[in-house]
Each structure stands twice: as C-alpha cells, then as structure tokens.
Symmetry: none
Subunit: 206 residues, 4 copies
DNA sequence: CATGAATGAGCATTCATTCAT
DNA sequence: GATGAATGAATGCTCATTCAT
C-alpha cells in the first residue's frame, strides 16, 4: 500500500485500460507503453499482471470505510443522513467506477487467482454500517421495517452501474451530448433518482 | 437466427464460458473442447470469435420484446401489472443473465468490433414500453409523476446484476448455502425487493 | 488432357490466381469461389492442389512444339525465319505468360512434388529445334559460329520475362499509361528488340 | 540497415528459404528453426514476415548503385567498359540472386503489402547510369543508335535469370555435373554470352 | 456424380514473464 | 535497482483435404 510515483503511474494507466478494454484484453505491453515505463517494470514492481490488479484493488478500495463513518457520526436527521449516505456512496463509486467495473466482472471469475479479500471486507463493512443505520432508523420508527435491508446497497450501486455500463445507450436516451453532460447527470439527476428510490423504500408517508 | 443443433451447442458453451471467464479470457479452443467440436468449426460456423458473440446476442436477445407485450395487453390493475412487469423483466434477465453479463462488460469496449444494434434496439423498445405504461398510469393518477421514468429500468436490472455479479458475497451475506438457494432467492426475495422498490417509487400512498 | 468445361474453368482461374498471387498464396477456396464451383470440386477433379498445377502445365504447355515446326517447315530465308521464330516464341510465351511465370518460380522448388516433365520435354524439344535451325544456318554460312547457341532461348524468354515480371516498373520507365499500351509494347517494340538482339548475335554483317 | 548478428543470421536463412520454397511457402517457424532462433524472435526483430522481407530488400539491394559508379568513373574504352558493366551486373545479380528471384516473383503481387521502393529506386538508378553511358557512346559514334536502350538491362538480367530459374534443365542441357560447375558456368560462359549479346547490339562492325 | 460439412495440421502473431547485465 | 533482449506457450484463424450422403 506504499506505492512510489512510478507504481502509481502504472496503477492509474492499468485502471483506465482494464476498465476500457478488460483485464484480459489489456496487455502488460499496452500498460507499459501508455505509462511510459519498461515492460519488465510491471512484473518487477507487482510480480505479475494479476498481482497488479490486486494492488489496484488495495489502492482504490482501501479507504472506503472511513468516509462512510464520517457521515455516520454527523448529527443529522435520519432522512438527511440517508440522502448524504446515498450521495456519498454514489460519489465514491463514481470516483472509483473503473476499478469497480473491473471487480464487477472479475469477482466471479473463478479461474482467476486474485485476492478479493480487501474488496469483500470493504463491501461487508459498508453494508454493515448501512444496515446498522437502517436498523437504528427502524427502531426509532423513522424507517419502514418491511424492507430487504441487505439489498439496499445493491439497488444503489446497481442502478449506478446499469447506467454507467450502458453509457452510449443512456447518453442517447437522456439526450446528453457530451461526456461532461453524462458525468454531470450521474452526479445530479441519477443520484437524486437513487436517493428518491431509497427514501421511497424506507420512509413512512407523513 | 437459424442455428442448427451443433451451432446451438457451441452458442451455449460460449455463453457459459464468456460469462464465467470473460470474452477475452475464453479461447476458441476452450469453447471447442467444452462443446466437443473441432476448433475450426467455430470459424467455419460463425466466421470469427467476435461474430460468435454477435450470434449469441441475436440468439438470446431476439424475442424479448414480444414477451413484454404479452404482459401489457393483459387486463390488469396498474399495480398488479407493474409487479408482473418487474417479475417478467427479472425472469427474462435471469434466464439470459450470462449473455447480459457479457454485454454489460463488452458494450462500452470501443476496441471491440461487435454489432450491439440488436441489443440496443431491444433495450430501447423495452424501456419504451415501460415508459408508456408508466405515463399511462400517471395520466390516470395511479402513479406519481415526480419520478425519473427513464431510469426505472436501470434500477430493476441494476439491482439484479449487482447481486448476481457479487454472488459469492451475497451468498455469504444472505446465508444461502447452495447455488439452488441463491437461484431461488433471486427469483423470490430479490424479485420482491425490486417490485417493492419500483412500487414505492411510483405508487401514491393509499 | 481431356478436360471438361468445368475443369477448364477451374484451370483458367487457377492460372490467373497462381500467376497473380503465387501458388502457395492462392487457396483452393479462392479458386473455387472465383471459378464458381464447390471447394471439394478441385480435389475431386484434379486430386490435389499440386495435381491441379500439373494439369495446368499439361493444358498450357502441351502443343508448343507443333507451332514451332509449322514455322520451321516454311520456305523462308534464314533471316526472316529467325525473326518469325523469335516472334512465335514471344507470342507463345506471352499467351501462356501466366503459366510460365509460375513455372519459372516453382520449377526449382524441390520441396514441391510436381511433375515438370512435360515442361522440360517441351523446352528441350523447342531448344532442340532452334539449335538445329541455327546449326543449319551456320553450316550454310548465314549465321556466325562463335555464339552460345544453347543460350539463345534464354535470352529471348529471359528478356521477355524480365520486363513482364517488372511490369509496374517498365510501365513507368517506358511511359505506358495503360495495360493495353503495355501489352501492345510487349508484342511490338519488345519483340523487335529481342529479334534485333538475336539477329545481332547471329548474323554476319552484310 | 543496422542489423545485429542474429538479425543477419535470420535474414540469410530467410533469403535462402524464400528463394528456394517461396515467400508464402516458407513459414516463420521454418526460418526460426533453420536459423536456430526462437519463433517469436522474428516478429520481435522485424515486426512481421512481410517486414522481414522488406528488411531483406534493404539489406541486399542497398549498395548496388555505388558499385556501378566505380566502374563508370574508370578511364576505359567504351567497349571494355561495356564488358565491365555487364560483368558487374551479372556478378552483382548473381551474388544477390536469391533476393532478386523473390523480387521477380513478388513485385507484381498486388495483394502483398510490401514496400519495394528501395528496389525500384535502385533499378531506376542503375538503368539510368547505363542509359547515360550508352547515350555517351552513341554521341561519340562508338555505339549504334537504333537500339532499345531502355531494354538492355532487361536482356542482361533476364538472360541470367532464365538460366538460373531453370537450373536443373540447363545443368542437364549444358552437361554441368555439379552445382559448382553450374555456378562457374554462370560467371564465365553465361557472362560471356551476355557480354557478346550486348556488344553485338551496340557495336558497329569494324 | 457431386457436394456441404467437417477436420487435423499448420499458420503468423502476441502473450506474460524471465534473466543476464 | 532497473531494463533490453529473449522465450515457450498460447492465441485466433486458415489451410488442403476427406467423407457421408
């Protein structure tokens, strides 16, 4: 988790290429060329292409938990905290969308010898925090109880990725002319939609 | 769209392997071996590995629209029809989950020379039908109007895939011991969750 | 040597493609497609790709000798007969230039299992006839004696092919705008050049 | 044009095999085996099989012009210079006969994506020098004027290759028992024949 | 007699990785 | 510590040919 400048350079290029053309589709030569380093560098620094992906996971996934906790400790009404939580999740996923896209595809690939423990742990912790928060809200009568609490995260992240993974389709459907407009939509309207979705599920009508 | 027995055999094996170990990760030799056909067969039948994927898209994606319409024409109250619609979508996606997983990953890969027109068209049509149904419900005062109608599909399918793509994680989280239990959960509890999610978003309180 | 219509069709296409893109470079599929016959047809009719080439040799090379003899029996002065002979050789080679180009390349290929006997026999006979004619002229004092008689044929045919094999180069060098202009040049100016060359070698000054 | 030892080793083996069994007929595996290098080496060093051929052209064809000029600047009578010129051409062609044989076959193959510019330029320059020399001799009244000057080179090289390309035939015809005898004949009697041919064409009788 | 389907062998190339320097 | 050179293995694909019909 202590990467030098060149290693970070490689990690960033790898993240981009893995997300764009897939892990298998990306050759270490391509990464090396784009990162302007020697081909042997990657094996030398990370051990192997698979270990490079593992390093990327550690690099990107590591500090997710803490951010969540900073929201949780804030003294806010449940509803507002819920919005903040969803917003944070979307923002965080959006920032690391490339790495998460790779994970979404590679995690179930049993042939691969990649250690996803860091990812799983982070996911477990995050969902745990959310679950606790929802439970608390339910206990306080703010949130409904007849919901699949464990699936809330899936709806948040799933909605995001369904749009992100079909970017060309949604750009056309939503009449977003540029990548910037799409990006902006993800962080505003889409986020609102997800917040609204989660609130609809959890909140009792006044 | 007129595939003989051996072609279908190849398509099914390809679908499985593409979904499990990725398009790039799957070699035609692997497909050939698993499908118990000669390697040259694949080029002979489909032209190339990429064309094989295109054939798979046509094979799997083709008849989606009609199913939706059979639900739409039924004379049901809006709420029940909404549930039926979501159920159909999840069922359909579940049946072709492997192909859709490949699409989710490959669709944005611009390096690939694959014709996704059939997929895009199907997606557009499906979302169009749903949108029209929602509009109708809104006009009749059954559905809320302050929703991102165009994003409803993303929430349905996205939630499904977020769970499916993290199967080992959710199996553990949801304490599902076997693949059958997981499969069953997807078609019952998860479907319910998605139905509930969409209904929460759309329905005015009674 | 008794080829039916379809076989001749195949032979002609094969001759064209072999000359244009080489024997190895031409696939039987390509020939079959161009000749509008089934792929299996070629093996079926000729036995193999190599046997197809052999058949082509027989088809094209077979009747060369007789034409030479029709010139030889004419009652002409030696000089005129020499011109007629060269002209006939060039014309004949030109007509079958494609097959002869293949031979020029493949004859020394020892890996190939092709029977060039017909070609060799024809070549031997032709050169024999020419040699006899030159000998006769020498005996009669019309032709010089200090010439390498056995090499005369090589100069005739070699000059032709050196131009033919470098067609794009010579088209530019000789400012021949079209294939027709080049073709015409081969049968007029180039033929004259070769006639002049041979006459210079053989004839005593008047 | 700066090849290391191993690259030259590959080039020489490739030249031999290309000439013997053709460009298409020669596999990179065959070259690699014969040159005792790894198969990947060829792509690694030259990029591709076609680029290997291009490298061969550059390697062999590069310094032709200069040699011609060294003859031209010599202070010799036109007749002797003519002999020296032909002798040099034959020698040079003989030394690079393998590469030139490949060129003779591949140059007109339009399917191939090979850059023959170096060859064409060299050929143009060589013929240019010869043409200038002949013009000079014509101006000085030493050479005849009614000759196709631009075709002289074709006769020189064409005659050589017609014999070389039919080596087995001419070995038998000329009763040359060994390869050495054939080789020797090419550089003595055949060269004389070509010199005599060109002189007959150009020189006025005394 | 003719052919579509099928195949094993071979193709050029690219791969991630290693290793001597 | 860093790297250019090198490699065995694997890639997708095309080949000439065979064979059941």
């Amino acid at each position: 988790m202590d990467f030098n400048e060149k290693q970070i350079q490689i990690l960033k290029v790898a993240e981009k290429l893995f997300a764009e053309i897939g892990f298998d589709g990306t050759s270490v030569r391509h990464i090396a060329k784009e990162a302007d380093v020697n081909v042997a560098m990657i094996s030398y620094y990370f051990g192997s292409k698979e270990k490079l992906l593992e390093a990327l996971l550690l690099y990107r996934v590591a500090d997710f938990k803490m951010e969540l906790e900073t929201v949780m400790v804030q003294n806010l009404p449940h509803v507002e905290k819920l919005d903040a939580l969803v917003s944070l999740m979307v923002n965080r996923i959006h920032r690391n969308r490339r790495t998460h896209k790779i994970i979404n595809y590679e995690y179930t690939n049993t042939c691969r010898q990649i250690d996803f423990d860091a990812y799983v742990e982070q996911k477990r912790d995050s969902l745990g925090i959310i679950e606790a928060f929802v439970k608390d809200g339910q206990n306080k009568g703010v949130f409904k109880t007849d919901v699949h609490t464990k699936l809330l995260g899936a709806t948040v992240i799933g909605t995001y990725f369904q749009v992100y993974n079909n970017k060309p389709f949604y750009k056309k459907l939503l009449e977003l002319d540029s990548d910037e407009a799409f990006e902006n939509y993800m962080l505003t309207s889409l986020t609102q939609h997800i917040q609204q979705t989660i609130k609809s599920l959890l909140l009792n009508e006044k």
